[in-house]
């Protein structure tokens, strides 16, 4: 059993309230819920919508099919009507449209007016929707109570009930399980991962779609003791974060492509000073300002090669909220183990979609600082911040931690002590030292996840947030008996090639599927594995691939069915 609801309207019409109550009600009723957002770069007007999908079995993505549309304006009907399944329903105010076969026009505004508070119109609609699905009002009432109080709460409760009474139940739902899940979006999961990993310094500059990550950190600032600072620009952000990290505090910054572009000199600084840092790059379509509120995976190569000069870095594409949580926590450990920048790559789709998943297991997180307490210093020696070692990793001390020892980090090429050098020999040694760390890092790369068949004839390669849509699609195709699998990369730089090489040698067809126009993963695969994809499916209109679209394109273009 699965249903899809779309709530649409202009920005500022209160769509988010309807959506939040529906999502949480469904979730707390024990359903699996998946909710994603499509919004414009404006505060009022235009057209925004939220899609809520729920089911009695786990779900991994949105769907382009719709059972019910809640249309807060007529535009919503025009734009989405064609996606209604047969028998699907549209709930709207009687003024928006008259009732027809699939339109249930209700006196929403009138009811709200009668209650004496026109703003509860959305709650009326919520009530109607719940009734349509036969979902009890209890959870919704609780949610309203925690949001409102006094007369406003009363009006909302009334609105909910009156809305409930306007329609009859038409969907029969399977009974859901117990609610022991959490409902969380990609940015929140990154934030939670960071906090669990001991990140206590977050600085950034607002930029859609990364802002909610900083906002969540700020909300927890007092409670968890995290410095969260909005800085003057993204250059300050990365330089501050590096300062905090140097001082010994786990630090992070985040932005979207344009803000990250301003950080790349700082990424290079992290490289030569060997200062650990975690950076979240929440992609949106570029170039430049581009499509601020929409989604794309078009910064991959830019991120991988970000920063002048040569130094090891790690790039991890997070694939879903669960992955985001654990990978973020891992990122902090890797950053400190190898003393490198680690960049987490996400995108607007994943940043803003929320999903019911198992609660995170905090006991799986360990905080491994790899700090030296001075034990590495041979008696009376001066501390060498850049001591040449077999691994390339030098013992890392924190300023002030060992009496009498000082720590020099330097953006110039430097000797073992961290002092400026002009020596050709030291230079070569230091380059080798830094690059050696990458060799070690390669050994702990996590190979991409394979969805679907074990040794598929048709091998899809993809990365990041397309994990969800692909998981849905591949599952369906495998059920149809097609020998298909999708390799979805998480760790993406250094690039893990083992699993890919093994599968590619057996596959008959390799298809690259990405949310960009230049097939960036394909280029990376060519470069790192000398494998060329046979076909590319690319989407770059700012709207995420849906499972249905992928299915149709695979069926149409690839399987030629």
């Amino acid at each position: 059993m699965e249903h899809n609801i779309l709530v649409g309207g202009a920005a500022g019409q209160g769509m988010d309230t309807v959506a939040t109550i529906l999502e949480k009600t469904l979730k707390r009723s024990g359903f699996y819920v998946f909710s994603n957002k499509d919004y414009m770069s404006r505060v009022r007007g235009g057209h925004n919508f939220t899609q809520i999908r729920f089911s009695t079995t786990p779900i991994y993505s949105h769907s382009s099919k719709l059972d019910v549309i809640i249309a807060l304006d007529s535009q919503t009907i025009q734009l989405h009507e064609n996606r209604l399944v047969s028998g699907g329903k549209i709930i709207c105010d009687e003024k928006v449209s008259p009732s027809t076969d699939n339109i249930i026009a209700l006196p929403l505004a009138k009811i709200a007016a009668d209650i004496g508070n026109p703003r509860v119109i959305n709650t009326v609609a919520t009530g109607a929707l719940l009734k349509l699905f036969g979902i009890p009002m209890l959870q919704a009432e609780r949610l309203l109570s925690s949001e409102f109080s006094g007369a406003v709460l009363d009006a909302n409760i009334q609105a909910l009930h009156k809305g409930y009474d306007t329609v009859n139940t038409i969907y029969e739902l399977d009974s859901p399980g117990n609610d022991d899940n959490i409902f969380i979006n990609g940015n929140q999961a990154i934030a939670l991962g960071a906090i669990a990993a001991g990140c206590r310094y977050y600085c950034g500059y607002p930029m859609t779609p990364s802002t909610s990550l900083m906002t969540y950190m700020a909300q927890k600032s007092n409670q968890m003791g995290i410095v969260v600072e909005q800085v003057e620009d993204e250059i300050a952000a990365i330089n501050m974060a590096l300062g905090a990290s140097y001082a010994g505090v786990r630090a992070m910054t985040g932005s979207s492509g344009g803000g990250f572009a301003l950080m790349v000199e700082g990424v290079s600084l992290a490289g030569i000073t060997e200062t650990p840092i975690v950076i979240a790059e929440i992609q949106r379509p570029g170039p430049a300002t581009g499509f601020p509120t929409r989604t794309e995976q078009s910064d991959l190569r830019f991120i991988i090669h970000a920063g002048h000069g040569e130094f090891p870095k790690m790039v991890i594409a997070v694939r879903n909220p669960e992955d985001a949580f654990y990978q973020t926590a891992r990122a902090f450990n890797i950053a400190e183990k190898y003393q490198i920048p680690v960049i987490l790559v996400s995108d607007q789709y994943l940043a803003d979609y929320a999903q019911t998943i198992k609660p995170f297991d905090f006991s799986r997180i360990s905080i491994d600082r790899y700090l030296d307490d001075g034990g590495s210093i041979v008696e009376k020696e001066k501390y060498k911040r850049y001591k040449l070692t077999d691994s390339g990793i030098s013992p890392r001390l924190i300023p002030g931690s060992v009496k009498g020892q000082v720590i020099y980090v330097d953006s110039d090429e430097h000797d073992e002590y961290g002092h400026i050098t002009e020596s050709a020999e030291i230079r070569a040694n230091m380059v080798n030292k830094r690059l050696k760390k990458e060799e070690l890092l390669r050994q702990e790369l996590i190979e991409p996840e394979l969805l679907g068949k074990d040794n598929p004839e048709i091998l899809i390669v993809s990365w990041g947030s397309l994990h969800g849509p692909l998981k849905e699609t591949i599952g369906k195709l495998v059920n149809e008996g097609i020998s298909i699998g999708a390799l979805v990369f998480g760790d993406i730089w250094p690039f893990p090639t083992k699993r890919l090489t093994a599968l590619a040698s057996k596959a008959k067809l390799i298809v690259d599927l990405e949310q960009n126009a230049t097939a960036q993963l394909d280029g990376l695969i060519r470069q790192e594995a000398l494998i060329s994809c046979d076909k590319k499916l690319l989407k770059y209109d700012g709207r995420i691939w849906s499972p249905e679209e992928i299915y149709d394109r695979l069926k149409g273009d690839v399987l030629n069915v």
Partner: protein, 279 residues
């Protein structure tokens, strides 16, 4: 205790005196090298920490202030100094300078102001006088110079001072006062560059600078503004403005109370409570 490497500056450079004053100040303040951190940019001035035995974050050109700010917030027990040139601070780093002041984190900022780009060989800096010819401005500088003290006051700095490399004694006192000041404290230090600034020479400064009189009232803002604007035949040195101001840390309870951020224990299980936000 603070001695270290051989310097790479030109003989006669004003930086030597600034370095000497800095060592004196730290010594007189009885600070242990491991308790002091200098964050510096890139340039001749910004090489300073390499010649003194303290913790150092020698970062990017223009970016001395953001790391300094973060280091202090991360470990309030450290004495944090930002060291940078005039190009570093008012040119590439202009935005961090003005916003760093607004944050009022307890750091001392020493700006070696030679009114020129030294390390890159003599281009105009934001403090080079209008009309001055340089190795790049062949027709003379077109733009009006930045007046650093005036700018710092405008942005709300609580401690604003001018020093002169030729007055090491006073400079040492200024540095001590800046380090002891509870908040962001800036000293713009007149520093002759013998190689590239043939206008603002040691002699030029010497003829013009005068110490602010003992009875100068450094708590009067409008007086401070007037003094900060004084430039030309007579150039005042000393503490131009000095008033208490709430610092960043004092305004954040969890930073103010308890141990330094870096000294707190981390446990992933502490974050488990946050799952409640998502049920």
């Amino acid at each position: 205790m603070f001695e270290t490497y051989e310097t790479a500056w030109c003989p006669g450079c004003g930086n030597f005196a600034i370095l000497a004053a800095l060592k004196d100040a730290l010594t007189q303040l009885n600070l242990d090298p491991s308790e002091v951190v200098i964050s510096s940019g890139i340039g001749q001035a910004a090489k300073t920490p390499h010649y003194i035995n303290v913790n150092t974050f020698n970062g990017l050109h223009g970016r001395a202030v953001p790391p300094a700010t973060a280091i202090k917030l991360s470990n309030k027990n450290l004495t944090v100094i930002a060291e940078s040139g005039d190009g570093d601070t008012y040119g590439e780093g202009g935005n961090h300078f003005i916003h760093g002041i607004r944050r009022n984190v307890n750091i001392a900022h020493f700006i070696h102001d030679n009114q020129i780009y030294g390390l890159t060989k003599g281009q105009a800096s934001p403090t080079t006088e209008k009309g001055q010819r340089t190795s790049l401005q062949f027709n003379g500088v077109i733009a009006e110079p930045v007046r650093p003290l005036f700018l710092a006051l405008t942005m709300g700095a609580g401690f604003v001072a001018r020093g002169f490399a030729g007055d090491r004694e006073q400079l040492t006192e200024l540095m001590k006062a800046a380090i002891n000041y509870n908040g962001y404290a800036m000293i713009d230090i007149l520093q002759p560059c013998v190689s590239f600034n043939k206008v603002n020479t040691f002699q030029w400064y010497k003829e013009r600078v005068y110490r602010l009189p003992d009875d100068y009232d450094a708590t009067d803002f409008s007086n401070a503004l007037k003094t900060a604007m004084e430039w030309g035949d007579r150039i005042p040195t000393g503490i131009i403005y000095n008033v208490p101001r709430d610092t960043y840390i004092e305004q954040v309870d969890f930073l103010k109370d308890g141990p330094a951020l870096v000294d707190r224990t981390l446990d992933p299980m502490d974050a488990k409570q946050l799952l409640e936000d998502f049920v």
